[in-house]
Structures are given as structure tokens and as C-alpha cells.
């Protein structure tokens, strides 16, 4: 007994020594890391601060003009769009999630993954396909006129508030679907059983238990859809449905007032922050909810007309949200591929690939550094800095573009002035109109996307793994190469793939901060669709959809196994 106590005390002190020696040797060179999260947080806060401070800048003529003419319309448009998309994607996402998670109907297995496919199509692509199909001159109305005569007064106008809402719901419902399905899979069947054992029937059980219990997830998914809606630029631009993002663009590039653009951006940021605060509330509640998978939950079989109604509902959603846009894009692309697949297209593609690769590399490197810094210094200040750094995903691209351009222009002017005064050299503008602006903006916006997979991969590298490696005689560097990197590899790859695709699809930042002549696929789509040239936007759109499918399929494979 005595011996045992002694030896255990010895190993304890040995462990302590080992820990001390790590901090003094292996990590010594990395002490500067401590600052990284704070630096990145500062980079994220600069555009936010810039935009918000413009609220206190005296209102210019352009702003006055905007307030008098368009501001009320913008607020109303944004409000109805937000409400419509939130309600629509919640209804669609929750019902599909319930059917595929808890019920049995023909094709359930197929639909449970296929209903995520719309995530691969950027909303603005769905938007222009919908316009091209259902507009007055589109094939649907043309065919109907040929068949029923010229008077189609009953046909709804696709270029309307309802049209934008429907397109966005079809694009964003998968967020709600994904989260709600997760909740229903883990607790849906079980909560029904509990309700039944307490004397409720299934319908009561769904509304009284399953739905309230899944509320944090449903709300979380709806908030994601809402943030995408508020950040969206391409869809509303194509529909000519003015919201804050398009107004920012017009103030800057049509009225040439960066101040007015910034002031509009500040209003949008206030709305977005309100949504974030609500979202955080739900997320903190989600943490307490149990997510244990209940033992083999046999699905509830739907029979007869119920089964086929559900089948029709799921296949209808999949048809309009994915199959129809993809088929139409394919038809257009095949029609124009001879003419459009030229040097210029390859240039757009090259620009897109290059930007996405750079952005993915930069973002993942920064995320990796932050994750290591947070692991090394797990104090509340660092954690706060990490949280601020990853909030950029909620900032609409249009806001970021303005918020980053203004300080960079300021630094640029200062630099060239200094160069003039000190060295009498005409430097011109050094940073503006280079890729640097774009990359900083991308990094700010997509840091959260790369941070979360790398961070969750890092959770698997526990402290005792380090100690075990040291116990086996590995140096700090060897531990990094032989233990950490192999564990983190998957997370880093996922992060890079997600950022890569997100940057490829990104429209407002690219459009507003790109160097002259740097047109990408997304920019090409914007330019063609604003002129109603649907066919000419098809080839770049097909490329984006294919790129978007890759990480999605990868993700589905991962969740299947």
C-alpha cells in the first residue's frame, strides 16, 4: 500500500515536470502566437467599426436623397423578405426533416440525402433560372400562351416579392432541414414514445413534444437561413428587388458615395447583430438538450395516400429546388458551349480558381494558427478573441466590402502621402485595386467556415496525447508532424474545400473590391444576368454548381458512414 502511494506521487510530479518542460521547450518559439487571435479579431473589428462609425458622420446629400426616396422601401423590402424566407424555410425544412427522420415512405432513404442537394446551387443561380423559365418571355409562359391563348392574366408574376421569397426558400431551406433532421433523428421517435406512454396520441406528441424539443435546432437553422437572406446580394440584384445589399452597391458604384454606402451598411449591420443575439440565445439552450441517439428507432410507416402525398411533397421540393434549375442550366449550357467556351471563359475560371485557392490557403492557415493559440492559451480573453474573429460569417459581403475598402483607401492615401513628403516619390495607390483587399475581405468573411472543422479536429488532440507522445520520446516538432498533422489532416482538408467553394460562389465582395479586369465566374454571372442574358450565364453557373457538389457529396459520405 505504502509503496503504491509513493510511486503514484512520483508519477504525478513526473507529469508536472513533463508539462513544465513542454511549455519551456517545444512551445517556446511560439510565444508570439498568443497575439494571433487578438490580431485577427482586430482585423474583423476594423470593418465593423468603420461601418458603424459612419453613422456619426454628418449626412451628405446622397444620404439625404436616399432617406427621402428609398430608405423606407428598403426597410419594408428587407422586413418582408426576412419574414417570408424565415417562415417558408422553417415550414419546408421542418416538415421534410420530420418525414425523412421519423416516418417511412417510398424513397425515404434517397430523399434524406438528396434534399440537401440544393445547397450546391448558389441562390442567385436558382434565381436567374427561375426568371428565365417563368418570366413573360420564358418557355413556360410562352408554351402556355400557345396552348391557352394570349391572355395569361392569372399567371403569377415571378418578378415579385413572392418570387424572391420562393427562390430563397428553395435555396436556404436545407439549413433548417439539416439541423431539424438531426434533432428529430436523435430524439424524435423517443419523444413520441414518451408522449404516448403518458397518454398522448402521435399528433399531440408531435406538437406538444417533438416540435418544442427540437426548437433550438429549428431556430438555429432558421437563423442561418435568415443570415444568408440578409447577406444575399446576387438574388435580389437579379430580381431587381432592392434591399440593403443592392442599395450599398448602387450608392457606391452608381452614386459614387462611399459614405452613403457605409451608412447603409451600418443599418444592415444593426439588423444582422440583432439576429445574431437571438441566435446565440438559442444556441446556448441547444447545449443543454440531450442528443443521445435512441436505440434503433423503427420509423413510423406511412400507408396509402399519406405515403404518396409525402413522396409527392419531397419529390416536388427536390424537383423545383434542384432538378429543374440543373436541367435548365444544362440545356442552356449545351446550347452555348460552342460559342462561350473560349479564352475568356477560361480566364474567368482561372481567376475564380486562383482567388479561391489563395483564400482557402490564407483562411486555413490563419484558422490553424488561431486554433493552436487558443489551445496553448485557453483563457477567456483568447476565447473571446476567437469568437469575435469568427463572427465575420454573419457580416454580409456588401458590408465587408465597404468596411474594408474605406480603411485600406485611407492607409493607401497615407502611404503615398508619406512617400511623397519623405522621398518625393509618386507611388500611386499601393493596396487598393490589388488582390490584398479581396483576400482580407474573404478571410474575414470565411474564417468561421474554416475554423469550425479545424477546431473540432483539434478537440481530438487531447492534452494526454501530447503527453503520450512525449512519453514515447517524440520532440515537439516530431509530435507536430507525426501526431498532430495526421489527426488534423481531415479537418484542414474539409475547411479548405468549404472555403474554396464559398469563395467561388461569393458575389458582392468579389464584385466590389476586385482589381480592374479581374472578372470571375460569379462576376460574369452578375453581369450577364443583370442584362437578362440567361443563356450566357449558364456555363459559369454550371461550373459553380459542379464545384459546389464536391464538398457536399464529401459531407454526405462522411455522415452516411
Amino acid at each position: 500500500m505504502r509503496d503504491e502511494t509513493l510511486s503514484s506521487a512520483e508519477t504525478d510530479s513526473g507529469r508536472k515536470n513533463g508539462f513544465l518542460s513542454t511549455s519551456s521547450s517545444a512551445y517556446q518559439a511560439l510565444n508570439g502566437w498568443r497575439l494571433i487571435p487578438f490580431l485577427v479579431a482586430a482585423v474583423v473589428l476594423v470593418p465593423v467599426g468603420t461601418v458603424i462609425s459612419s453613422l456619426f458622420v454628418p449626412a451628405g446629400d446622397v444620404w439625404q436623397h436616399l432617406v427621402e426616396t428609398t430608405l423606407a422601401g428598403l426597410l419594408i423590402n428587407t422586413f418582408w423578405l426576412a419574414v417570408g424566407v424565415a417562415v417558408g424555410s422553417a415550414l419546408l425544412g421542418v416538415s421534410l426533416a420530420w418525414f425523412t427522420a421519423v416516418c417511412e415512405f417510398p424513397g425515404r432513404k434517397f430523399f434524406s440525402w438528396a434534399l440537401l442537394l440544393p445547397l450546391a446551387i448558389p441562390a442567385y443561380v436558382t434565381a436567374f433560372v427561375a426568371l428565365g423559365l417563368f418570366d413573360y418571355v420564358g418557355p413556360v409562359q410562352t408554351a402556355l400562351r400557345a396552348w391557352l391563348g394570349p391572355d395569361l392574366f392569372w399567371f403569377p408574376d415571378i418578378r415579385s416579392r413572392l418570387g424572391v421569397i420562393i427562390v430563397m426558400v428553395l435555396a436556404f431551406y436545407p439549413y433548417v432541414y439539416l439541423l431539424a433532421r438531426n434533432a428529430f433523428l436523435t430524439q424524435g421517435k423517443r419523444s413520441l414514445e414518451v408522449a404516448q406512454s403518458l397518454g398522448f396520441n402521435r399528433t399531440q406528441g408531435f406538437f406538444k413534444l417533438a416540435l418544442p424539443m427540437a426548437r433550438p435546432w429549428i431556430a438555429g437553422g432558421t437563423m442561418l437561413a435568415l443570415m444568408e437572406t440578409l447577406a444575399d446580394f446576387g438574388t435580389v440584384a437579379i430580381f431587381n428587388y432592392d434591399t440593403f445589399t443592392t442599395a450599398i452597391y448602387k450608392a457606391w458604384f452608381a452614386m459614387f458615395s462611399l459614405t452613403a454606402a457605409s451608412q447603409l451598411a451600418s443599418l444592415l449591420i444593426v439588423i444582422v447583430f440583432a439576429v445574431i443575439i437571438v441566435e446565440q440565445q438559442f444556441r446556448s439552450r441547444m447545449r443543454y438538450a440531450e442528443t443521445r441517439q435512441s436505440a434503433k428507432a423503427t420509423p413510423i410507416p406511412l400507408t396509402g395516400w399519406r405515403a404518396w402525398l409525402t413522396f409527392g411533397f419531397a419529390s416536388g421540393t427536390l424537383f423545383f429546388a434542384f432538378l429543374l434549375p440543373v436541367m435548365q442550366l444544362g440545356i442552356w449550357a449545351v446550347g452555348v458551349v460552342e460559342r462561350d467556351f473560349d479564352q475568356r471563359y477560361l480566364e474567368f475560371l482561372w481567376h475564380s480558381l486562383l482567388l479561391s485557392a489563395f483564400a482557402a490557403l490564407l483562411t486555413c492557415a490563419v484558422a490553424l494558427l488561431m486554433v493552436y493559440a487558443a489551445r496553448r492559451y485557453p483563457d477567456s480573453a483568447t476565447r473571446g478573441a476567437v469568437r469575435i474573429s469568427t463572427i465575420g460569417y454573419a457580416l454580409p459581403g456588401a458590408v465587408l466590402a465597404v468596411g474594408i475598402f474605406i480603411p485600406i483607401a485611407w492607409v493607401d492615401n497615407w502611404l503615398s502621402e508619406m512617400a511623397m513628403q519623405l522621398f518625393h516619390i509618386e507611388t500611386g495607390l499601393l493596396i487598393q485595386g490589388t488582390l490584398v483587399t479581396m483576400l482580407i475581405a474573404y478571410m474575414t468573411r470565411f474564417l468561421a467556415v474554416s475554423h469550425s472543422p479545424i477546431d473540432s479536429a483539434m478537440q481530438r488532440v487531447t492534452g494526454s496525447i501530447d503527453e503520450a507522445a512525449m512519453g514515447l520520446g517524440l520532440s515537439g516538432w516530431a509530435t507536430l508532424c507525426r501526431v498532430h498533422l495526421p489527426i488534423l489532416k481531415g479537418g484542414i482538408f474539409t475547411a479548405a474545400a468549404l472555403v474554396f467553394v464559398d469563395v467561388m460562389k461569393e458575389m458582392p465582395i468579389t464584385l466590389m473590391t476586385r482589381p480592374f479586369g479581374w472578372d470571375t465566374l460569379a462576376v460574369r454571372i452578375f453581369e450577364m444576368t443583370t442584362e437578362g442574358q440567361w443563356e450566357q450565364a449558364a456555363l459559369p453557373a454550371v461550373t459553380l454548381v459542379l464545384a459546389g457538389l464536391l464538398p457536399l457529396i464529401f459531407f454526405m459520405r462522411q455522415t452516411e458512414s
Binding site: 430524439q187 423517443r190 419523444s191 414514445e193 414518451v194 408522449a195 404516448q196 406512454s197 403518458l198 397518454g199 398522448f200 396520441n201 413534444l209 418544442p212 424539443m213 426548437r215 439552450r285 443543454y288 438538450a289 440531450e290 443521445r292 435512441s294 436505440a295 423503427t298
Partner: protein
């Protein structure tokens, strides 16, 4: 006596695999029954069939004399008045303890509901945490909330699915006695499912040992241990070894350690083939049947020893080469390899025909 719950020859198949086969049992009002068996033996499925979550393909289940399940008919679970405590408790994370417990009382008036909720919370000793949320409670408290929630509507029958499997061992022992007291105080009829025999012995009046979808023996804990009906039960319940022996007459069996005299083996019927003189049998010897006695001439060699505090479990090699277990007070501390004197002390014989192995 009228039975509250009767299962008659029920069968449940999952796909092609028969999970429960021709199973029957009956439970009196106010009794606590238990289905005990290794994992995968179908015990939870039986519970879910009784609850109405799973259909049965043959046989019938009756509650208070009324059929609630048979082949092709399942009375919906919500109309059975059967409560259930789930293995993972399945508490509602978004509701307080009070609201969790009151959830099933939706048919009562507001005042009645409050009174019943308060009463049952008092019974399970959770009145002071009524306004907390499940995640703020300890595992044992969560377990009692689940019990209170299931008991609140005064179900005719309460089902408990591995109710203690999420708790640590020390808590299990204490809580199982507490749960028995609570159930008895509510005069509840209950069926418990577990793989832990100590739990089963602590809570249940009657225990059914299950194996491969069938009940091997339905009996009291005492009888399962001392009068196992077959080899599976003998192996599954408690510890022991089988030693080869020969029948002398229905009251005596000779084994290596001597002649065992005792009651007729209870599973032996008149004119059974087993009890004929000269028949070879396997005799179950429990650790408490082999007593350490320094004066005994019968010597066995210590092969293993496991110190258990109050006593030591010795694994002994018998002179003839067989193995036996012996539970000895721990002050008789012998080294491995030492020879110690032992003596048989059993007042009944459990023997199984060697041919029926």
C-alpha cells in the same frame, strides 16, 4: 387470483429474426417483476411489446383481463395506461422538473394536477428541485424525475427499461432499494428489465431469466440461485462450477468431494430418467457449498485467489483434477499453491443429466 398482466405465447420477429419466441408470463397486481438476461436476449423487446411500441406476431397480451395486443392488433400505447421509464430517461430538456412530472396529467384539473405533482415529487424526494431543469440535476435525481413522471398519472402498470444502467455502481445499489420502496408505497405493479442480477434481486419479487427470446425460469431470486431450472440459469445466476457425479438414489449423489445428500432435486419429477441409480450427472457446486475447514482430510490446492474485503474467493484444484470455488472469510489468508482443507456443506442437490449438456 386474477392476474393484472398476462402474456400468452407471444412472438415478435424483427425482419427474419425471431427476437421473442413463445413467451408467457403473468404478474399479480402490486407485484414487481423483472426480466433478467444478457444483452440481446430480447428482454427490452418484450417490454416494448407490452408498452405497445412493437407489434406481436403471435399470442396475446392482456391487461386487467382485456386483450391489448395480439397478432394483427395493437392498442395504441397512449390508451393502455402503462407508464414507462426509459433507459436514457428521455426527460424533456426544455421543461422544469415540475413541468416534466406534470406533463402526463393533462386530463386532470389544474388544482388536481398541481396536487398530484407535488405529492409524487415529495414521494421521490425531489420537492426542493421542482423548479430546476433536467441538466441541472445529478444522474440519480434525473432517474427519480423519470420515475415520478411515469408514476404521476397512476398507470396500471409501470415498465422500467434498464433504469439504473446510466448510474455508477455505488449509486445503483442504493437507488434500487429506494425505487422498490417508492413503487411499493404507490402500490404500483411494475416490470423491470435489466442485465444486472443484483439489481433484479434488490427490486423484484419475481424474476424471469431470459435467453434467446425465451424465459428460462420465472421464479424468486432465492430459487433462481438455489434451484436453477437448467444449465443456462445455473451459469447466469451467481457463481459456481459443475462437477461430474453419479446418482446413488433420488436423495444422494456421489461426486469427487463425497456424497451429497439433500432434497430431491426440485426439477426432478417422479419416474424421471435422471434419478436412476448409476446415471452420470453434472452437479452444481456454489462457492458457499464448499466450506474451508482446517480439520478436514479433503485437501485442495489454491490456484487463484480474489480478495473481496470481508471474504476471499478461492479457486481450488481438487485432488481428482476438478476445479471448485470456495468463499472463505478473509482472515483465512492462504498463498497460491498452498493446500487447504475443505468440506462440502450443501443441503440440496442441483444436478443436470450429462446427456442434456
Amino acid at each position: 387470483m386474477n392476474m393484472l398482466l398476462e402474456l400468452g405465447n407471444i412472438r415478435h420477429a424483427y425482419g427474419r429474426q425471431t427476437v421473442v419466441n413463445d413467451l408467457s408470463l403473468a404478474l399479480k397486481k402490486g407485484a414487481i417483476g423483472c426480466l433478467l438476461g444478457p444483452s440481446g436476449c430480447g428482454k427490452t423487446t418484450v417490454l416494448r411489446c407490452i408498452a405497445g411500441f412493437e407489434p406481436i406476431s403471435a399470442g396475446a397480451i392482456a391487461l386487467n383481463g382485456a386483450v391489448i395486443s395480439n397478432a394483427g392488433f395493437v392498442l395504441p400505447p397512449e390508451r393502455r395506461h402503462i407508464g414507462m421509464v426509459f433507459q436514457d430517461y428521455a426527460l424533456f430538456p426544455h421543461l422544469t422538473v415540475l413541468a416534466n412530472v406534470g406533463f402526463g396529467l393533462h386530463r386532470l384539473q389544474k388544482t388536481e394536477r398541481a396536487a398530484r405533482t407535488a405529492e409524487i415529487l415529495e414521494t421521490v424526494g425531489l420537492a426542493d428541485v421542482a423548479n430546476k431543469y433536467p441538466h441541472q440535476l445529478s444522474g440519480g435525481q434525473q432517474q427519480r424525475v423519470a420515475l415520478a413522471r411515469a408514476l404521476a398519472p397512476k398507470p396500471d402498470l409501470l415498465l422500467l427499461d434498464e433504469p439504473f444502467s446510466n448510474l455508477d455502481v455505488t449509486l445503483r445499489g442504493r437507488l434500487s432499494l429506494e425505487v422498490r420502496d417508492i413503487l411499493k408505497s404507490q402500490n404500483a405493479t411494475a416490470i423491470l428489465v435489466t442485465h444486472d442480477q443484483d439489481e433484479a434481486f434488490a427490486i423484484a419479487d419475481e424474476i424471469g431469466v431470459m435467453h434467446q427470446g425465451e424465459i428460462q425460469q420465472w421464479d424468486t431470486g432465492y430459487n433462481l440461485y438455489h434451484r436453477p431450472a437448467n444449465r443456462f440459469v445455473a451459469n447466469f445466476i451467481g457463481q459456481g462450477v459443475f462437477l461430474p457425479g453419479t446418482i446413488l438414489d433420488p436423495h444422494h449423489v456421489e461426486i469427487e468431494l463425497g456424497v451429497l445428500a439433500g432434497e430431491v432435486p426440485h426439477q426432478c419429477m417422479p419416474d424421471c430418467q435422471l434419478c436412476r441409480k448409476g446415471n452420470p450427472v453434472d452437479v452444481l457446486i456454489r462457492p458457499d457449498d464448499v466450506v474451508h475447514d482446517d480439520a478436514s482430510l479433503l485437501q485442495a490446492t489454491v490456484m487463484h485467489k480474489a480478495f473481496r474485503g470481508a471474504d476471499i474467493m478461492y479457486t481450488l484444484r481438487l485432488p481428482g483434477g476438478g476445479t471448485a470455488l470456495s468463499l472463505v472469510p478473509s482472515h483465512h489468508n492462504h498463498a497460491i499453491g498452498e493446500k487447504i482443507g475443505i468440506r462440502l456443506e450443501a443441503d440440496h442437490v442441483v444436478a443436470f443429466s450429462q446427456s442434456a449438456r
